[in-house]
Symmetry: C2
Subunit: 135 residues, 2 copies
DNA sequence: CAAGAACCTTAGAACCATTCTAAGTTATTG
DNA sequence: CAATAACTTAGAATGGTTCTAAGGTTCTTG
Protein backbone atom coordinates (compact mmCIF):
# COMPACT_ATOMS: atom_id res chain seq x y z
CA UNK A 1 0.00 0.00 0.00
CA UNK A 2 1.13 3.59 -0.55
CA UNK A 3 -0.35 4.60 2.68
CA UNK A 4 0.42 8.21 3.37
CA UNK A 5 -1.46 10.52 0.99
CA UNK A 6 -5.08 11.45 1.53
CA UNK A 7 -7.44 10.23 -1.15
CA UNK A 8 -8.37 13.33 -3.04
CA UNK A 9 -10.46 11.26 -5.41
CA UNK A 10 -13.00 10.73 -2.69
CA UNK A 11 -12.92 14.25 -1.27
CA UNK A 12 -13.41 15.74 -4.70
CA UNK A 13 -16.28 13.41 -5.41
CA UNK A 14 -17.74 14.30 -2.03
CA UNK A 15 -17.58 17.94 -3.08
CA UNK A 16 -19.50 17.14 -6.25
CA UNK A 17 -16.49 17.41 -8.55
CA UNK A 18 -15.17 14.80 -10.91
CA UNK A 19 -11.73 13.70 -9.78
CA UNK A 20 -9.91 14.48 -12.99
CA UNK A 21 -6.14 14.20 -13.09
CA UNK A 22 -5.79 17.95 -13.15
CA UNK A 23 -8.03 18.52 -10.17
CA UNK A 24 -6.36 15.79 -8.18
CA UNK A 25 -2.94 17.24 -9.00
CA UNK A 26 -4.04 20.70 -7.87
CA UNK A 27 -5.68 19.32 -4.75
CA UNK A 28 -2.44 17.60 -3.84
CA UNK A 29 -0.43 20.77 -4.23
CA UNK A 30 -2.98 22.73 -2.27
CA UNK A 31 -4.03 20.41 0.52
CA UNK A 32 -1.09 18.14 1.18
CA UNK A 33 0.92 19.78 3.92
CA UNK A 34 -0.19 22.78 5.97
CA UNK A 35 -2.45 25.67 5.09
CA UNK A 36 -1.41 27.89 2.23
CA UNK A 37 -2.26 31.02 0.31
CA UNK A 38 -1.97 30.98 -3.46
CA UNK A 39 -2.88 33.13 -6.40
CA UNK A 40 -3.85 31.66 -9.75
CA UNK A 41 -0.50 32.66 -11.17
CA UNK A 42 1.53 31.30 -8.28
CA UNK A 43 -0.29 27.99 -8.34
CA UNK A 44 0.10 27.73 -12.08
CA UNK A 45 3.82 28.43 -11.83
CA UNK A 46 4.12 25.75 -9.20
CA UNK A 47 2.23 23.07 -11.06
CA UNK A 48 3.68 23.83 -14.48
CA UNK A 49 6.91 21.99 -13.69
CA UNK A 50 5.28 18.84 -12.34
CA UNK A 51 4.50 15.57 -14.18
CA UNK A 52 0.89 16.80 -14.41
CA UNK A 53 1.10 20.37 -15.65
CA UNK A 54 -2.25 22.14 -15.76
CA UNK A 55 -3.21 25.02 -18.02
CA UNK A 56 -3.78 28.46 -16.56
CA UNK A 57 -7.43 28.34 -17.63
CA UNK A 58 -7.92 25.16 -15.65
CA UNK A 59 -6.15 26.61 -12.65
CA UNK A 60 -8.65 29.47 -12.68
CA UNK A 61 -11.60 27.14 -13.22
CA UNK A 62 -10.45 24.83 -10.47
CA UNK A 63 -9.81 27.57 -7.92
CA UNK A 64 -13.31 28.90 -8.55
CA UNK A 65 -14.84 25.44 -8.28
CA UNK A 66 -12.95 24.63 -5.10
CA UNK A 67 -14.06 27.96 -3.68
CA UNK A 68 -17.69 27.30 -4.63
CA UNK A 69 -17.43 23.84 -3.11
CA UNK A 70 -16.13 25.27 0.15
CA UNK A 71 -12.67 23.75 -0.17
CA UNK A 72 -11.02 27.16 -0.49
CA UNK A 73 -11.73 30.63 0.68
CA UNK A 74 -11.14 33.62 -1.56
CA UNK A 75 -9.41 36.55 0.08
CA UNK A 76 -9.44 39.99 -1.48
CA UNK A 77 -7.12 42.42 0.23
CA UNK A 78 -5.45 44.36 -2.55
CA UNK A 79 -6.62 45.59 -5.91
CA UNK A 80 -5.90 43.48 -8.95
CA UNK A 81 -5.51 39.94 -7.66
CA UNK A 82 -7.30 37.35 -5.57
CA UNK A 83 -5.72 35.08 -3.01
CA UNK A 84 -7.09 31.64 -2.22
CA UNK A 85 -6.69 30.27 1.26
CA UNK A 86 -6.76 26.56 2.01
CA UNK A 87 -7.83 27.38 5.55
CA UNK A 88 -11.62 27.57 5.38
CA UNK A 89 -12.18 27.67 9.13
CA UNK A 90 -12.76 30.74 11.25
CA UNK A 91 -9.72 32.96 11.11
CA UNK A 92 -8.53 36.37 10.07
CA UNK A 93 -5.58 37.82 8.18
CA UNK A 94 -2.45 39.83 8.47
CA UNK A 95 -1.64 41.48 5.19
CA UNK A 96 1.89 42.79 4.74
CA UNK A 97 1.17 45.65 2.35
CA UNK A 98 4.79 46.23 1.45
CA UNK A 99 5.27 42.79 -0.05
CA UNK A 100 1.86 41.31 -0.63
CA UNK A 101 2.22 38.54 1.95
CA UNK A 102 -0.81 37.12 3.67
CA UNK A 103 -0.81 35.29 7.02
CA UNK A 104 -3.63 33.68 8.93
CA UNK A 105 -4.35 34.11 12.57
CA UNK A 106 -6.99 32.22 14.52
CA UNK A 107 -10.14 34.05 15.48
CA UNK A 108 -10.38 32.21 18.80
CA UNK A 109 -8.61 34.80 20.84
CA UNK A 110 -10.08 37.77 19.05
CA UNK A 111 -13.24 39.29 20.40
CA UNK A 112 -15.28 41.71 18.38
CA UNK A 113 -17.95 43.45 20.40
CA UNK A 114 -20.48 46.09 19.50
CA UNK A 115 -20.91 45.41 15.79
CA UNK A 116 -24.02 47.16 14.50
CA UNK A 117 -26.95 45.10 13.19
CA UNK A 118 -26.88 44.27 9.47
CA UNK A 119 -28.83 46.66 7.24
CA UNK A 120 -32.57 45.99 6.82
CA UNK A 121 -33.27 42.97 4.65
CA UNK A 122 -29.78 41.48 4.83
CA UNK A 123 -28.35 38.61 6.78
CA UNK A 124 -24.83 38.18 7.99
CA UNK A 125 -22.51 36.25 5.76
CA UNK A 126 -19.10 36.66 7.37
CA UNK A 127 -16.97 39.09 9.33
CA UNK A 128 -13.48 39.63 7.95
CA UNK A 129 -10.75 41.28 9.94
CA UNK A 130 -7.72 42.38 7.98
CA UNK A 131 -4.77 43.64 9.97
CA UNK A 132 -2.67 45.64 7.56
CA UNK A 133 0.99 46.02 8.43
CA UNK A 134 4.10 47.33 6.68
CA UNK A 135 7.78 46.55 6.90
CA UNK B 1 -20.94 86.55 -2.78
CA UNK B 2 -21.63 82.91 -3.48
CA UNK B 3 -21.14 81.98 0.12
CA UNK B 4 -22.05 78.34 0.51
CA UNK B 5 -19.50 76.10 -1.15
CA UNK B 6 -16.22 75.16 0.49
CA UNK B 7 -13.12 76.43 -1.25
CA UNK B 8 -11.64 73.36 -2.83
CA UNK B 9 -8.91 75.46 -4.34
CA UNK B 10 -7.36 75.90 -0.94
CA UNK B 11 -7.89 72.35 0.28
CA UNK B 12 -6.34 70.93 -2.87
CA UNK B 13 -3.40 73.25 -2.56
CA UNK B 14 -3.07 72.29 1.09
CA UNK B 15 -2.89 68.67 -0.06
CA UNK B 16 -0.07 69.54 -2.44
CA UNK B 17 -2.19 69.34 -5.57
CA UNK B 18 -2.71 72.03 -8.17
CA UNK B 19 -6.32 73.06 -8.15
CA UNK B 20 -7.04 72.41 -11.79
CA UNK B 21 -10.57 72.74 -13.07
CA UNK B 22 -10.90 68.98 -13.33
CA UNK B 23 -9.70 68.32 -9.81
CA UNK B 24 -11.92 71.03 -8.37
CA UNK B 25 -14.90 69.63 -10.27
CA UNK B 26 -14.22 66.13 -8.94
CA UNK B 27 -13.63 67.41 -5.42
CA UNK B 28 -17.00 69.13 -5.54
CA UNK B 29 -18.79 66.00 -6.63
CA UNK B 30 -16.98 63.96 -4.01
CA UNK B 31 -16.86 66.22 -0.98
CA UNK B 32 -19.86 68.49 -1.22
CA UNK B 33 -22.64 66.78 0.72
CA UNK B 34 -22.20 63.75 2.95
CA UNK B 35 -19.78 60.87 2.74
CA UNK B 36 -19.87 58.71 -0.37
CA UNK B 37 -18.46 55.62 -1.99
CA UNK B 38 -17.56 55.75 -5.66
CA UNK B 39 -15.78 53.68 -8.23
CA UNK B 40 -13.78 55.22 -11.05
CA UNK B 41 -16.54 54.27 -13.47
CA UNK B 42 -19.37 55.59 -11.34
CA UNK B 43 -17.62 58.88 -10.75
CA UNK B 44 -16.82 59.23 -14.42
CA UNK B 45 -20.44 58.55 -15.35
CA UNK B 46 -21.56 61.18 -12.89
CA UNK B 47 -19.18 63.89 -14.01
CA UNK B 48 -19.49 63.22 -17.73
CA UNK B 49 -22.79 65.07 -17.96
CA UNK B 50 -21.67 68.17 -16.08
CA UNK B 51 -20.34 71.48 -17.49
CA UNK B 52 -16.85 70.23 -16.60
CA UNK B 53 -16.66 66.69 -17.95
CA UNK B 54 -13.47 64.89 -17.05
CA UNK B 55 -11.85 62.04 -18.95
CA UNK B 56 -11.75 58.58 -17.50
CA UNK B 57 -7.95 58.69 -17.35
CA UNK B 58 -8.09 61.82 -15.25
CA UNK B 59 -10.71 60.32 -12.98
CA UNK B 60 -8.33 57.43 -12.30
CA UNK B 61 -5.36 59.77 -11.84
CA UNK B 62 -7.31 62.01 -9.52
CA UNK B 63 -8.71 59.22 -7.37
CA UNK B 64 -5.19 57.88 -6.91
CA UNK B 65 -3.81 61.31 -6.08
CA UNK B 66 -6.62 62.06 -3.64
CA UNK B 67 -5.99 58.69 -2.02
CA UNK B 68 -2.25 59.36 -1.77
CA UNK B 69 -2.97 62.78 -0.32
CA UNK B 70 -5.23 61.28 2.34
CA UNK B 71 -8.42 62.82 0.99
CA UNK B 72 -9.88 59.44 0.08
CA UNK B 73 -9.56 55.93 1.33
CA UNK B 74 -9.42 53.01 -1.06
CA UNK B 75 -11.56 50.06 -0.10
CA UNK B 76 -11.03 46.65 -1.67
CA UNK B 77 -13.78 44.19 -0.85
CA UNK B 78 -14.47 42.33 -4.07
CA UNK B 79 -12.27 41.20 -6.93
CA UNK B 80 -12.02 43.39 -9.98
CA UNK B 81 -12.84 46.88 -8.76
CA UNK B 82 -11.81 49.42 -6.16
CA UNK B 83 -14.12 51.63 -4.16
CA UNK B 84 -13.07 55.03 -2.89
CA UNK B 85 -14.53 56.32 0.33
CA UNK B 86 -14.72 60.01 1.15
CA UNK B 87 -14.79 59.10 4.81
CA UNK B 88 -11.16 58.90 5.85
CA UNK B 89 -11.79 58.70 9.57
CA UNK B 90 -11.89 55.59 11.69
CA UNK B 91 -14.72 53.39 10.55
CA UNK B 92 -15.52 50.01 9.10
CA UNK B 93 -17.72 48.62 6.34
CA UNK B 94 -20.77 46.62 5.58
CA UNK B 95 -20.51 45.04 2.18
CA UNK B 96 -23.71 43.77 0.62
CA UNK B 97 -22.28 40.98 -1.49
CA UNK B 98 -25.43 40.44 -3.50
CA UNK B 99 -25.44 43.91 -4.99
CA UNK B 100 -22.02 45.39 -4.43
CA UNK B 101 -23.17 48.09 -2.02
CA UNK B 102 -20.83 49.45 0.60
CA UNK B 103 -21.88 51.19 3.83
CA UNK B 104 -19.82 52.75 6.57
CA UNK B 105 -20.27 52.21 10.22
CA UNK B 106 -18.39 54.05 12.95
CA UNK B 107 -15.70 52.19 14.82
CA UNK B 108 -16.50 53.96 18.09
CA UNK B 109 -18.81 51.30 19.41
CA UNK B 110 -16.83 48.38 18.08
CA UNK B 111 -14.23 46.83 20.33
CA UNK B 112 -11.66 44.45 18.99
CA UNK B 113 -9.72 42.67 21.69
CA UNK B 114 -7.05 40.02 21.58
CA UNK B 115 -5.48 40.77 18.21
CA UNK B 116 -2.12 39.03 17.91
CA UNK B 117 1.05 41.11 17.63
CA UNK B 118 2.15 42.05 14.11
CA UNK B 119 4.70 39.70 12.54
CA UNK B 120 8.37 40.38 13.32
CA UNK B 121 9.68 43.44 11.59
CA UNK B 122 6.34 44.95 10.68
CA UNK B 123 4.35 47.78 12.18
CA UNK B 124 0.61 48.19 12.23
CA UNK B 125 -0.90 50.18 9.43
CA UNK B 126 -4.64 49.73 9.88
CA UNK B 127 -7.26 47.26 11.00
CA UNK B 128 -10.13 46.76 8.60
CA UNK B 129 -13.34 45.08 9.57
CA UNK B 130 -15.61 44.05 6.72
CA UNK B 131 -19.02 42.75 7.65
CA UNK B 132 -20.25 40.82 4.65
CA UNK B 133 -24.01 40.44 4.32
CA UNK B 134 -26.42 39.19 1.65
CA UNK B 135 -30.00 39.99 0.73
C1' DC C 1 1.59 90.71 -17.40
C1' DA C 2 4.85 88.03 -20.36
C1' DA C 3 7.40 83.94 -20.89
C1' DG C 4 9.35 79.87 -19.48
C1' DA C 5 8.99 75.88 -16.88
C1' DA C 6 6.57 72.59 -14.48
C1' DC C 7 2.64 70.27 -14.22
C1' DC C 8 -1.81 68.43 -15.92
C1' DT C 9 -5.26 66.35 -19.13
C1' DT C 10 -6.52 63.34 -22.65
C1' DA C 11 -7.48 59.85 -26.40
C1' DG C 12 -6.09 55.84 -27.44
C1' DA C 13 -2.99 52.10 -26.89
C1' DA C 14 -1.24 48.86 -23.71
C1' DC C 15 -1.49 45.88 -19.80
C1' DC C 16 -2.78 42.26 -16.72
C1' DA C 17 -5.81 39.34 -14.26
C1' DT C 18 -9.55 36.79 -15.35
C1' DT C 19 -13.22 34.68 -18.25
C1' DC C 20 -14.96 32.88 -22.53
C1' DT C 21 -15.07 30.02 -26.83
C1' DA C 22 -14.87 26.17 -29.43
C1' DA C 23 -12.69 21.98 -30.37
C1' DG C 24 -10.68 17.97 -28.68
C1' DT C 25 -10.32 14.69 -24.51
C1' DT C 26 -11.69 12.05 -20.47
C1' DA C 27 -14.67 10.21 -16.91
C1' DT C 28 -18.98 8.02 -16.03
C1' DT C 29 -23.03 5.33 -16.79
C1' DG C 30 -25.59 1.63 -18.53
C1' DC D 1 -17.41 -0.54 -24.51
C1' DA D 2 -20.37 2.90 -26.55
C1' DA D 3 -22.87 6.99 -25.62
C1' DT D 4 -23.08 10.96 -23.07
C1' DA D 5 -22.01 14.43 -20.05
C1' DA D 6 -18.33 16.75 -18.04
C1' DC D 7 -13.67 18.51 -18.40
C1' DT D 8 -9.41 20.71 -20.35
C1' DT D 9 -7.11 23.77 -23.22
C1' DA D 10 -5.02 27.35 -26.42
C1' DG D 11 -6.02 31.36 -27.76
C1' DA D 12 -9.22 35.12 -28.15
C1' DA D 13 -11.92 38.30 -25.60
C1' DT D 14 -13.06 41.20 -21.65
C1' DG D 15 -12.88 44.68 -18.16
C1' DG D 16 -10.64 47.48 -14.95
C1' DT D 17 -6.65 50.17 -14.69
C1' DT D 18 -2.29 52.31 -16.21
C1' DC D 19 0.72 54.21 -19.72
C1' DT D 20 2.20 57.21 -23.65
C1' DA D 21 2.99 61.18 -25.91
C1' DA D 22 1.06 65.35 -27.55
C1' DG D 23 -1.21 69.43 -26.50
C1' DG D 24 -3.16 72.54 -22.76
C1' DT D 25 -3.07 74.84 -18.09
C1' DT D 26 -1.18 76.73 -14.01
C1' DC D 27 2.50 78.73 -11.56
C1' DT D 28 6.64 81.55 -10.89
C1' DT D 29 9.52 85.15 -11.49
C1' DG D 30 10.86 89.44 -13.00
Amino acid sequence: MTGNSPDFTVSLRAAGLRPTRQRVALARVLFEGGHRHVTAESLHAEVKATPMPVSLATVYNTLNQFRDAGLLREVVVAPGRSYFDTNTGHHHHFFVETDGELHDFPSDEVTIAGLPAPPEGTRLSRVDVIVRVRR
